[in-house]
Amino acid sequence: MITSSNKKSEFILNIYIGIFLLFMFIPLLLMMAAGFNATDPPSVTDWQGLTLKWFYQLKTEDRLIRCLGNSFKIVGVVVPLSVMLGLSAALILTRIRAKATNYLYAVLVSPMLTPGIILGITTIVFWQKIGVNANLFTVMLAQTSFIATYPMLIIMSRLQRQDRFQEEAAMDLGASPLLLFWRITIPFLRPAIITSAALAFLMSFENYNTTVFSIGSNCTVTTEIAQQARKAHTPVINALGFIFVSLTIFGALIYTFFHRRRFSRN
């Protein structure tokens, strides 16, 4: 009797998961499909024939391409900076045992729990006072202030599993601190660093709420999409959406491939 009710509840749960995933994917699939439809405004119900013209039109969107370039500039600074800050904070927080580190930890986690728009606002208010106007520079700093927290947490959780004997052995054998750091600490942390860099890339690239408050009159690809989407519903954005989603699926497949072990270990 227990097994039959178990089966039933499992069945219901599976149906629920199915509906949940449909809810997550249907809007995305519709958006992607509309990118191939010849109608403007994009639609999936009013099918006017398969076309690739919106994809070709993407190449002529100069402003969008310029904004995309800005996005990559920002990512290029935010990712290394966040990983660097996160790594430093993780090492200090795990290696120094003092009451003060608890407060430091709380301060460093706080941006993660702050609404994104406020991080943008505080950054422009601060830099305007110094005499720097809102531009890509302020976006980089505003984004880093909260993105760096994620590398910190990821690297910290890996450091907590570190075997200190290796470092001690290297020290006893007379390795210089630089060599020790480069040959023992960094290789041990490599997976965590790669994961945090990937996460920082995603978060920086897709960030909107913090960016729109700290960018001034410049643009990134997300602020540009928002601007265009607010004004009108245009199939060119759908075509871009198709590219974004495809790249994401590709990236997620690679991620799962490298993290298979995580599931098989359970």
Binding site: S9, P115, V125, L180
Partner: protein, 387 residues
């Protein structure tokens, strides 16, 4: 402190300390202090300094126009109209070439007059500058801080804020209810292979650009979108006769998309804590005859409390600070969201002090929510972030 210096040496350790100090001070603490400082300074534009600033701005603008006319001659458009600043216009219909020639003549006639005007403006600006200095020192002598920015919030804005908070609480509670079973299935109820596939299926929408996920809903909510077409097919509406529903008018659309956009920020924290639960505990409870709800209530939920807390905080924080979702989905057909009022204070009326006060209010509300959730679930901030 000593051990880290011993292991990594003075140089590397100093670099770490410097990085963390810069992060804490330049990226977190100082910007916050500057914003809070600003929020307590009232920007009274009706006083002498405000009027002077206004006048200065006006004078600069007119000087710029006159300078432009002096340097490039008055602009003539295709109809042969001379710019208004010259105080003369030419009747339409004349040929462009003719009009241009006329412009050149005009500019030489009025050149002296224009130059005189610029000189006059310059002297006015100089006087105002002196007055500004006086007014500035007078203002600096006053005590700058007050609660005026906070007291000034109008009834409408308070209503918007309350609505935003109410919505966000509802979003996070609903997200929790919807996500708990999902996290449970992926973390505890699936064989490794199935768990990996489900995890992948959840990662994909999570990683897709937030703006794209919001934008995708336009295909559904448009007047000729999926929803109306289905209703048309069912005979409820008639698209051809303009018998349609404009979905963007209803707050339910923003609510749905908020849930859709931020729900996965609830799934992953719960999944992460839940998957560290030893399954033997569940089996032991089953062997001892515990009912399913009891296993959840006594074993699984207590174990995943930190994840539930962080998920609830994250979804609330994202919803209350949401700018993109209402920006795209309301299409101007619904009342403003609180974040948009803040945006307008900064970039439309450019009253940064008032805007700072509004955003500090929003920050305080999120902080209160964080503490309420933490004490409700009895978790500390240290547990909170270990996801």
């Amino acid at each position: 402190m000593i051990s880290i210096f011993k292991v990594y040496g003075r140089f590397i350790t100093s670099v770490f300390l410097l990085c963390v100090a810069a992060w804490v001070l330049i990226l977190i603490i100082l910007p916050q202090i500057f914003m809070i400082d600003r929020s307590f300074k009232y920007d009274y534009r009706g006083d002498r300094l405000g009027i002077i600033n206004n006048d200065l701005e006006r004078l600069y603008a007119s000087k710029l126009v006159k300078k432009y006319d002096l340097d490039f001659g008055p602009t003539c458009n295709e109809q042969g109209m001379v710019s208004v600043s010259m105080g003369r216009s030419i009747t339409e219909g004349k040929k462009v070439g003719e009009a241009q020639r006329e412009c050149e003549v005009l500019s030489s006639e009025n050149k002296i007059k224009l130059e005189q005007e610029v000189v006059e403006i310059n002297s006015q600006i100089a006087i105002l500058f002196q007055e500004e200095e006086v007014a500035k020192t007078a203002k600096e002598a006053e005590f700058p801080y007050s609660f005026r920015n906070y007291v000034m919030m109008s009834g409408l804005h308070i209503k918007t804020l309350t609505k935003t908070i109410f919505y966000s609480i509802f979003v996070s509670v609903l997200a929790l209810i919807l996500c708990y079973p999902v996290a449970y299935v992926v973390a505890l109820k699936s064989a490794p292979r199935k768990a990996a596939i489900l995890f992948l299926a959840l990662i994909i929408p999570y990683a897709v650009n937030e703006l794209m996920r919001i934008y995708a809903w336009l295909t559904i909510f448009d007047v000729k979108g999926l929803l109306n077409t289905i209703l048309d097919f069912l005979g409820v509406l008639a698209l051809d006769e303009d018998k349609v529903i404009v979905w963007y008018k209803y707050p339910g659309t923003v609510f749905t998309v908020l849930i859709y956009t931020y729900i996965l920020f609830m799934v992953f924290p719960i999944y992460n804590t839940m998957s560290t639960l030893n399954r033997d505990q569940i089996e032991a409870a089953q062997d001892l005859g515990a009912k399913a709800w009891r296993i959840h209530w006594r074993i699984i939920i207590p174990h995943s409390k930190p994840g539930i807390a962080i998920g609830t905080i994250m979804t609330f924080m994202l919803a209350v600070g949401a700018f993109s979702v209402p920006y795209i989905i309301t299409r101007g057909l619904q009342p403003k969201w609180f974040t948009h009022i803040i945006y307008d204070k900064f970039f439309e009326s450019s009253n940064w002090n008032l805007g700072s006060a509004y955003s500090f209010t929003l920050l305080l509300i999120s902080l209160i929510f964080v503490f309420v959730v933490m004490s409700l679930f009895r978790v500390s901030i240290n547990e909170l972030a270990k996801r």
